[in-house]
């Protein structure tokens, strides 16, 4: 595999957003809280960052906006869903990270 063929590394916040959307369609705030909780508060997606990323990811084709019928009390109607391309990119990234984890395990990093 030449370098050019390698999938581009995903930005950390893109990776986290894709991960959040992997099993469900979410609206913006839900994505934010999920990422925040999963990273134990280390990655906080402020609104600008959040929607800037969502916009660009949609343009790249990793995710799509979907209109979901929502309960009356929820004003937010714009949901996001992961596309097949996004799923592939997520899988590539997970595989890449897994390789690193494998290497680290072989080097006994965790025991030290």
């Amino acid at each position: 595999m030449t370098e050019a063929d390698q999938p581009p590394q995903l930005k950390p916040q893109w990776f986290q957003i894709l991960l959040a959307l992997a099993d469900q369609n979410l609206h913006g705030y839900a994505i934010m809280t999920e990422v925040l909780d999963r990273t134990q508060g280390r990655m906080r997606l402020w609104p600008g960052m959040l929607y800037g990323s969502l916009k660009r990811m949609a343009e790249t084709g990793l995710i799509e906006e979907v209109e979901e019928p929502s309960p009356a009390d929820n004003k937010e109607r714009r949901y996001y869903t992961i596309t097949p391309t996004g799923r592939r990119a997520l899988a590539d990234e997970v595989r890449r990270l897994a390789e690193f984890v494998e290497v680290a395990r072989m080097k006994d990093v965790l025991r030290g």
Partner: protein, 905 residues
């Protein structure tokens, strides 16, 4: 989130581009509100503050990113939209198309193109010519090594207010010993007795005495042979000479073996040691203050410095210094003052109150012409501005006729930017054609200017049109093209398609154009007025200067110099006898009314001043210089010059060597010491040659403007030739008829006494008088020329705009006439309109002139830069011209035939 919080967050949201906001703002607000609540619940007020801080940072940082992104995108889209596939080649093709199109347009209407190009050519040409003079005189460095480290050093007589006194020899030696900031110091002065005696008529050469260090200081070497050795400044070893290239060619035919030959100057022979290169000139042919007029020297000889006998009182020498590497001139200046203080302490009798200061050599050489040149450059810039305005007006007028063409082009899909580019190509093409013609004008004009050289411009600055001038012309042309092209181009393309295509319709664009034209014309009048006020002030100043009473009558007087060398005429008595014989010979010539001799003629700039004391007044304290100019004259001098005797008597042959020592003083001196009293019979001491008197005052003569018409008269003491010395004299001959007819006879009369004495600088007093005011005259003439061009262009502009307005209103006027309006009223209507424009322009121009002419004050003699008379006169002249330029179109309006006007629709 309360309403305040929401408002605040919306404010933050303004960081994002609008498109982004439209799409996400609502969602972002909701997300932030929830996040804020969550933070407050978990961390209290700390959470709230950190959430707001985070949101602010987020908004600013992401907002900038999104905006950058949006801008990039829109640029990319626009580029791809307008010119989907434009390569460089395509662009060149388009440009070529535009150029061909423009040229075809010019050919179709050649009159318009020619007028526009010539107008521009005049403007650009005048600017180029003026700039090349400024470039040569002010910008180009002197042709010496590192000229910016060179400075002239002057002594100063602080209490007498004299700030540029030449050095004395002894002071020079002290300074040279003590300086630590200068690497070289050289002294120079013209050699007075440089009469070349040979086969032909005797001739005075321009020989400069220089200390040998001059050549290494300037970084100059000899073309043939060598420059002076340092020892050659010692007395006895100084009989050597360096020739100028021109003199070597003229006198020695460029002989290669010239080194070692001898040359005889006033009975002293010098051995030639070398020849300087063709481009070497020293002193630079510029006037160093009014103390030294230099022309091209023929040769240089060493300055013999006699340390032991050096004089401290004779301030007659120019000193040049070079700052050491890394020493700036300010430090040199400080050091010179410090040395002056030390020298004064050591020599209190002679040097109390004597200071020193430096003037960078370039500054000194341009000091007298800088302000005149810069003011003229500004004036000529104004002319170009007016030319641009006129061409812009022409273009606007033509644009009116092109609306259909433009509308057609828009209809078939030409974008506005494409049209603007097309129109700008036209104006640029016109500008560059004008620029090329203008450059030709400039080449011719500059040559003419320098042949006349009325400003005493430093001719050494060869004012060829160099790259800098070319770049200047190019830049001016480019700016000009934009200046007159852009407004009409934008104005024209704002066209209304529908209206444009309809035949004969009057669109709103016409109104816009008229407004623009009005604006241009107001500006043009204002600029023209400023220029004319400048010209008016110069004329008035020159008139004042010209009508200054010089104190003598310059008509019918021939003057020339008869120098007597120390070597040939060592004794004062011999010189006296010689002069008396010459005066007597000339006095006997037919056609001579009176003849007299004087040691320094008025309006030549040589000074021979010395201190004096007056009977009954205490002598001046050391450092307080009371100085009068001393002149030695023959008995007929006052009459020959037409100087009226105000009191007492003039000199006669009875004032001989053994008679009572007498003097005649001028009005200024009499007024200074004997205000209201009669000075006749009072005693004065002092002289320039050691014979200090006392002398008895026997008469008072009129003040003479010795040093120029604009220099106030100074105290003056005249002594009779029989009682004082001379080193040759200026002879002035008052003729009964044409003085020039006496030239040859006068020469022969001198050579009858001694054929080896040269006759120099023969000129009528009238022409010396004219020369002395040549510079202000030329400045005034040039300014007037610019002013008249401006006036003419402005008149054309007003005429054009008013014609345009009348033509546009033809229908209007027709209707009014059909309803019985009187022609007189219509005339008044149009006139009022034109004069309103002119009035606004004149008002603005007067304000502008009020501010701008202050910069000219130093060029004006006896006229205030805000002289109300000039302002009023120029304002009314301009209004008058404007009225005339409006009257013609206005009359045409009254001739409108209502039927024709209405049918024209």
């Amino acid at each position: 989130m309360g309403s305040t919080g929401r408002a605040l967050y919306r404010l933050l949201l303004r960081c994002y581009p609008e498109a982004f906001r439209r799409r996400y703002a609502e969602d972002m607000e909701v997300v932030f509100a929830k996040a804020l609540r969550r933070e407050r619940d978990r961390r209290g007020w700390v959470g709230v503050v950190s959430a707001w801080l985070g949101a602010a940072v987020d908004a600013v940082a992401r907002g900038a990113t999104e905006r950058g992104d949006a801008a990039r995108r829109s640029w990319r889209t626009r580029r791809t939209n307008t010119n989907p596939t434009l390569t460089l080649g395509d662009r060149m093709t388009l440009l070529w198309q535009d150029i061909r199109y423009a040229v075809r347009g010019f050919i179709r209407r050649p009159g318009f193109a020619v007028v526009a190009m010539l107008t521009l050519a005049i403007g650009i040409g005048a600017n180029t010519a003026m700039f090349s003079v400024v470039n040569g005189a002010l910008l180009r460095p002197l042709p010496y090594e590192e000229p910016d480290r060179l400075a002239l050093i002057w002594e100063t007589f602080e209490r007498a207010g004299m700030d540029a006194v030449p050095f004395s020899e002894a002071d020079f030696l002290d300074y040279r010993d003590q300086t630590e900031t200068l690497s070289h110091m050289a002294m120079f002065r013209r050699l007075e007795d440089a009469v070349l005696v040979g086969d032909g008529e005797p001739e005075v050469l321009n020989a400069q005495m220089v200390t040998p260090s001059l050549f290494p200081m300037l970084g100059a070497g000899a073309l043939i042979g060598r420059v002076f050795d340092p020892e050659e400044e010692e007395p006895g070893r100084d009989a050597v000479a360096l020739l100028s290239h021109a003199f070597w060619q003229d006198r020695f035919g460029g002989a290669g073996d010239v080194v070692g030959r001898t040359i005889n100057l006033s009975e002293r022979s010098y051995t030639v040691v070398g020849v300087m290169p063709r481009d070497f000139q020293f002193p630079p042919p510029v006037s160093f203050g009014d103390l030294m007029i230099s022309s091209q020297p023929d040769l240089w000889v060493p300055f013999a410095l006699d340390g032991a006998n050096a004089d401290r009182m004779r301030h007659a020498f120019f000193v040049l210094g070079r700052a050491k590497d890394g020493v700036d001139l300010a430090r040199v200046d400080t050091e010179m003052s410090a040395i002056a203080a030390r020298v004064a302490e050591a020599n209190p009798q002679t040097n109390t109150g004597v200071g020193a200061r430096i003037v960078p050599v370039h500054e000194q050489s341009v000091a007298t012409i800088r302000s005149a040149l810069l003011v003229l450059l500004a004036a000529v810039g104004f002319v170009l501005l007016i030319a641009c305005t006129n061409v812009a007006n022409l273009l606007l007028a033509r644009a009116g006729g092109r609306q259909r063409e433009i509308a057609v082009r828009v209809a078939v899909g030409a974008g506005r930017s494409r049209l603007v580019r097309q129109l700008l190509t036209e104006s640029m093409l016109m500008a560059f054609a004008g620029g090329a013609i203008g450059f030709l004008f400039a080449v011719i004009g500059t040559r003419a200017l320098f042949r006349l050289n009325p400003m005493d411009l430093p001719v050494m600055f060869d004012t060829g049109l160099d790259l800098r001038v070319l770049a200047f012309t190019f830049a001016v042309t480019g700016i000009t093209g934009m200046a007159f092209g852009l407004i009409p181009a934008l104005q024209t393309t704002k066209t209304d398609l529908q209206a444009g295509l309809k035949e004969g319709s009057r669109s709103t664009t016409d109104q816009g154009q008229l407004r623009m034209k009005n604006l241009l014309i107001v500006g043009e009048i204002a600029v023209a007025l400023m220029l004319l006020v400048g010209a008016g002030l110069m004329i008035k100043s020159f008139d004042r200067l010209q009508s200054v009473d010089p104190g003598f009558d310059p008509e019918n007087v021939l003057t020339f110099l008869v120098p007597l060398s120390e070597a040939r005429y060592p004794e004062a008595e011999q010189r006296r006898v010689f002069i008396d014989a010459v005066v007597e010979n000339i006095g006997g010539l037919p056609g001579v009314h009176r003849v007299g001799g004087v040691t320094n003629l008025p309006l030549t700039v040589n000074r021979t001043g010395s201190s004096y004391t007056v009977e009954g007044e205490p002598p001046p304290e050391p450092g307080e210089f009371r100085i009068a100019e001393f002149r030695t004259v023959t008995p007929g001098y006052f009459e020959a010059m037409g100087m009226p005797l105000l009191s007492g008597r003039g000199f006669s042959n009875l004032d001989g060597p053994d008679a009572q020592s007498v003097v005649v003083i001028n009005e200024t001196l009499a007024g200074r010491h004997w205000d209201g009293e009669d000075p006749i019979g009072k005693q004065i001491t002092g002289s320039v040659n050691g014979d200090n008197g006392p002398h008895t005052v026997v008469g008072i003569v009129s003040d003479v403007r010795f040093f120029g018409l604009d220099v106030p008269p100074e105290p003056m003491i005249y002594r009779p030739n029989a009682q004082a010395s001379n080193r040759g004299m200026w002879i002035s001959v008052r003729a009964t008829g044409n003085p020039e007819a006496l030239g040859n006879a006068s020469r022969r009369a001198v050579w009858q006494v001694d054929p080896n004495v040269p006759v120099e600088q023969m000129e009528t007093m009238r022409s010396r008088f004219a020369d002395s005011i040549a510079k202000p005259r030329f400045t005034a003439q040039l300014f007037t020329g610019f002013g008249l061009v401006a006036l003419f262009l402005a008149a054309l502009g007003i005429y054009g705009v008013m014609s345009f307005a009348v033509a546009q209103q033809t229908k209007d006027i027709g209707i009014r006439m059909a309803f019985g309006a009187e022609p007189g009223k219509l005339l008044a209507m149009v006139l009022t309109r034109g004069l309103t424009l002119a009035g606004v322009g004149v008002g603005l121009g007067l304000l502008g002139a009020f501010g701008a002419t202050r910069l000219m004050q130093s060029l004006l003699y006896d006229v205030s830069a805000t002289d109300p008379g000039t302002f009023a006169a120029v304002g009314s002249v301009l209004l008058g011209v404007a009225a005339l330029a409006t009257y013609l179109p206005a009359r045409r309006a009254t001739k409108v035939n209502p039927v024709d006007a209405l049918r024209g629709e």
